[in-house]
Each structure stands twice: as C-alpha cells, then as structure tokens.
C-alpha cells in the first residue's frame, strides 16, 4: 500500500488554524462545529484536497472538543455533543476543580478520538470491500437504508424525520435530468438560474449558519454567560493528575466505542452519542447514585464518546458515500467540490487522500490536546467572546463562499439566504435540517441507481428483491423500521409518564 502523504509546514499550520477556530466555534454556545466547517469550505478552492482536509478535520475535532469548556464552566453545552459533560463537569467546577475537570475532559477527548481513529482505519476498508460488489440495485437500497436509519433514530419524531429526508431528495431533483437532458420542477421564470438545481454549498451554509443566526437574532443575540458561572479566578481545591484515570480504563473503551458506533449510524448526532454513553456509564457504575454530583466517571463517559463520534461518522462517508452526521454531510461537500467521489472505490482509487484523512485526524487530535491542555486557563476566556461581533463576519464569509461556488453567480447567494430562512422555518416546525441535507445530498444518486436498476430489468420492480445482498439490506431496513416503531412508542410513553 502506498503511504505517501502530503505534509509540511503549511499543512501543520493549516491543521492548527482549523483546530483553534474549531475550538472557538465549539466553545461558543450558539455556534457549532458544523457551521465552522460550512463557512470555511470555500477555502478548499484555494488549496488542493489533501491540504484542505487538514483544515476541515482540524475544525471538526476542535469543534467537537471546544464544547466542553462552557459545559463545565457555565453549564451550557457549547455544542449539542457535550450535552452530558456539564452533568458532572459543572459540579466539579463549582467545588473549585474547574481546571481539573477541563483537563480530564480534554484527555478523555483525546483518547476517544484515538479509539475512533483506530476503528475508522480498520473498519472502513472492510466495509468498502463489501460495498464494491454492489450493483445499482444494492446502491439504491443502501441509500434507502441510510434514510431509514436516520428516520429511525430521530426519536419520537420519526415521520417528520422521514418527511424531511424525502423533501431533501425532492429538492435535489430540481433541474436537468442528465439521462435525457430535460428540465423538471423549475418554474419557467428561473430556467437559466436553476438549470442545474440548487448548489450544495449555499444550501448547506444557509441551513447551518444562517438559520442558526436567525434563531439567535430572534432571541436577541444575548450571550449565555451570567447565571451560575464558574470562571477560573477562584482557588483550585484539587489539581489534575493522570492518576484520575485510574479505574477508568473500561469506561474509556466502552464510551469511546459507543461514540464510534453511534457515529457510524447515519444521521445520528453527537448528543445521542454522549447521552447513550452516559446512561451506559450509569448502568455499569458501582455507585450510580453519585453520578451527576461531580464524578470523574460521568465526565469521562461523555467526553470520550463525543470525540469517538468523529472517526465513526467518517466510516459510512468514506466506505459508502453516506454521511454519518451533519458535520460529515458538510465534509462530503469538500470532496464533491474537488471532484473526488466518496464511496466503495474511494480508498483504492485515492490511497493518498485516505492516508491523509487518517493522518489528519490523528494530527488534529494531538494538536487539540496540545492547544487545550496546558493553556486551558487562558483558553477558558473564549466563552467571553461576544457572538454578536462574530456573526457579521460569518455573514461575509458565507456570502463569499456561496458566491464562489460557481465562480461568481449571484443566484447562489440568493439560494444561501433562502435556505437560511428555510432552515429557520424547519426548526420552528420541528423538521430536522440534518435529515433534509442528507436527503438532498443523496437524492440524485438515489434517482440514478433507481433508474439504472429499472433500465437493467426492463422496468421490472422485482429486481429490487432478486439478489441476496439486496435481500440482506431489505432485512436491515425492515428491522430498523420495527425498532424505530417500538422506540417511538416508548419515547411517547416516557413523555406521557
């Protein structure tokens, strides 16, 4: 195997830049890692794919890790994935162990990242090898499967999740159909502007940056500091030591693997990873009643799991071409912009890029640790940055990004604003934007494989049930639907109780 990777000072600096900006976005409640990647995507035009991957992976790892700072200090998760970090982290901070809690969280994040990286490295080639045997039929079914899983795991909200996914597919079909070059679903006034449909980049920046900005504007752009915050000027009652991890080895591995596994399932976000890991930690704990009062155990479970997510979410992306979460859905944009097809053939056709991904992820995790662990006292001031001063810069970057999508087209800027409003409306009526985006990304492929399968069979639909691998995927789809149905009912009952 070819182990050539492009790496030098520029790549190191770019990764460092990514990690630092990622941490800032992750640490500010109201801004997310996904948003950071979305607005920095246009920079990938300037660099080649491998250099931009260092930036994007840095943003990803930094963004997920930065969330622990406000979770521990002010009990507000900076990103949804650190939702359970504050459960034990904040009580520790209130006891005067803020620095200790932060350093435990940072170390746990590093270990989680490394566990998931290992899984990514070994699991992706295996899955890709299996997927190489897929014909158009199986490719169609695997996308259908991904959409079922997404919906199945939007707990208590299954129908709306499926609806949003199919709506994304529908919107992606707008424009010319490549087979017969005919236009569809486009109002006659906009035939020139929307000939190729909506572009991915403005759609995703709109959905993840602008809609969030509108939501924050609606609430007055207020900084969520104030109440109950622990800043780092008090006295330290207990210092961090690596001995804090004594007795946590099993917890580390369990949580890291749970996070990775949740990441592998398409469409499940980081909040699910940390919640599930935390509840497992409680179930296995020798003293579950103490969790939530400032136990190292709970903090470790949460932070290992959410960084475990990073490698996991890349598994389906790189082996099947299906994004594992909203952030990887944005990452797929980077590959598409550079004309690199992610899917079963990705590793064999692009061994250098595959190695770059692995190395970039490793480097980002190490840089994240180096940047956060020692200067954490200084870094904690990030949460004081007013987001009202950052959003105008986000607006400028988003517009530049959208405009450059097709080398200068105002239609894409309009698309950006329109999808910002669409995303904002989605959040109001409870439609998940992530599901919509995944449908939008996979929609054209779904159509292509469907039509190709039918062309091969002369229009006979039974072709979708004719091959053993296909039947296996059907079994998975039905299994997930049943699981989803039962889980939904349980969620409803829990809500009522």
């Amino acid at each position: 195997m070819n182990f050539m990777i492009e790496f030098g000072v520029i790549q190191l600096l770019v990764a460092l830049l990514g990690v630092v900006i990622g941490i800032i976005f992750g640490a500010l409640p109201g801004m997310t890692a996904t948003m950071a990647i979305a607005i920095f995507l246009p920079l990938t035009y300037a660099y080649d794919l491998s250099t931009s991957l260092y930036l994007l992976l840095g943003l990803y790892v930094g963004g997920i890790s930065g969330g622990l700072i406000p979770a521990i200090l002010i009990n507000i998760p900076g990103t949804p994935s650190s939702i359970t970090t504050g459960f034990d982290g904040h009580p520790m901070a209130k006891r005067g162990e803020a620095v200790r809690a932060l350093r435990i969280g940072i170390t746990a994040s590093l270990i989680g990242g490394l566990i998931s990286l290992t899984v990514l490295a070994f699991f992706t080639p295996v899955l890709a090898k299996l997927a190489i045997q897929f014909s158009a039929v199986e490719k169609f079914l695997i996308i259908l499967f991904a959409m079922t899983v997404i919906a199945a795991l939007s707990r208590g909200n299954m129908t709306k999740g499926i609806f949003a996914g199919f709506l994304g597919v529908f919107i992606s079909l707008m424009g010319v159909f490549p087979d017969n070059q005919k236009l569809r679903l486009i109002p006659s006034l906009l035939t020139t502007e929307l000939r190729d449909g909506f572009q991915l980049l403005p759609v995703l920046i709109g959905l993840f940056a602008f809609s969030q900005m509108f939501s924050e504007a609606e609430l007055g752009m207020r900084q969520m500091l104030m109440k109950d915050n622990v800043l780092l000027d008090g006295k330290e009652t207990r210092k961090f030591s690596f001995k804090d991890f004594k007795g946590q080895i099993i917890n580390l591995f369990r949580s890291g693997l749970i996070g990775t596994f949740i990441g592998v399932l398409p469409g499940v976000g980081g909040s699910a990873a940390s919640l599930m890991s935390y509840s497992q930690c409680k179930a296995w704990s020798k003293h579950p009643e103490k969790l939530g009062t400032g136990e190292v155990e709970g903090l470790v479970a949460s932070e290992t799991a959410n960084n475990g997510l990073t490698g996991g979410a890349l598994v389906p992306l790189l082996s099947l071409g299906i994004p594992g979460d909203s952030t990887t859905a944005v990452l797929i944009g980077a590959f598409m912009l550079q004309g690199v097809q992610v899917g079963p053939l990705f590793i064999t056709q692009n061994p250098d890029i595959w190695n770059t991904v692995l190395f970039g992820l490793l480097l980002s995790n190490i840089l994240m640790f180096a940047v956060m662990f020692w200067p954490i006292k200084f870094l904690a001031n990030i949460i004081k940055i007013p987001m009202s001063k950052l959003y105008p810069a986000v607006v400028l970057m988003s517009v530049v990004g959208a405009f450059s999508t097709r080398n200068g087209n105002m239609t894409d800027v309009v698309t950006l604003i329109v999808f910002g409003i669409v995303g904002y409306l989605f959040s109001k009526i409870g439609l998940p934007a992530t599901t919509f985006l995944i449908g939008f990304i996979l929609g054209r492929d779904l159509e292509k494989y469907f039509i190709d399968s039918l062309k091969g069979s002369g229009g006979d639909l039974s072709v979708f049930f004719s091959r053993p691998i296909g039947l296996g995927i059907w079994a998975l789809i039905v299994g997930f639907l049943i699981y989803a149905f039962l889980d939904n009912r349980r969620a409803h009952r829990e809500k009522l109780a």
Binding site: F214, A217, E218, L219, S388, K389, S404, I417, K428, I451
Partner: protein, 136 residues
Amino acid sequence: MSDLFKINITYSQSHLIMPRIILGVLMILAVVIFIQEYLKARKAKKPFMNIKQWRFFAKDYDKVKLFGSIGLLFAYIVLLNLIGFIAGSIIIASLFNILYAEKKDKKSIAICIGISIIETMVLWFIFGYIFEITLP
C-alpha cells in the same frame, strides 16, 4: 398482477419518474403526520390546530434583530451589485454589528464600523488576494 410490479421507462419521460414517486411518498407522509398530530391533540385533550395559542416566534422575541437580519441580507445582494464587494461589505457588516450590539452610543457605533472595516479587508485580503477566489 405482474403488471403491478412494472414501471414503463420511456426515454423522453424518464425525468419525471422519480419526482412523481417522491411526491407521492411526501403526500402520504404529510397525511400520516396530519393524522398523528390530530391523535396527539385528541389524547392531550387540546383542540386540534390550535391557532389562537400557537406561537410561531419565541415569547418577547427580538423583532428588530430578526427581521433586520433578513432585510440586511437582501440589501447586501443589492449593494454588491451596485457598489461592489469592499464598499458593500463594509456598509452591511457595520449595520449588522450595530444591529446586534447591546449599546448603541457613539463610541460603540464607531467600534462597530472599525471592526467591520477590518473584517472586510482581512476577508478581501485572504480570499481575494492570497487565494484568488472570485469575490462579488
């Protein structure tokens, strides 16, 4: 019976097959969501489609900031076409900064404009000059 499992693929019409199927699926899902919401409302003994109590915006929401943001974005497009990237961005970024600022006295407005000029120039330098990305 076997005809039920067949879809005729005519070359000239093949671009409409998938949109029709997806539209069908969406309509079925919409009906299901409608029924679910109705049953939920009945179970909770609340009137269905409770328009009077339904609140779209958050309580005491910031009208100026929300609609101001949307308006400014559209204004940005117009300005970009009229006066170009640098001037248009400085104006719009300043207005965004002032809109979101908590205090609106002379000093903070000056700071807002200063920040916007720096932001615009930095972006122009990085994207337009170093990376040669097409700017509006």
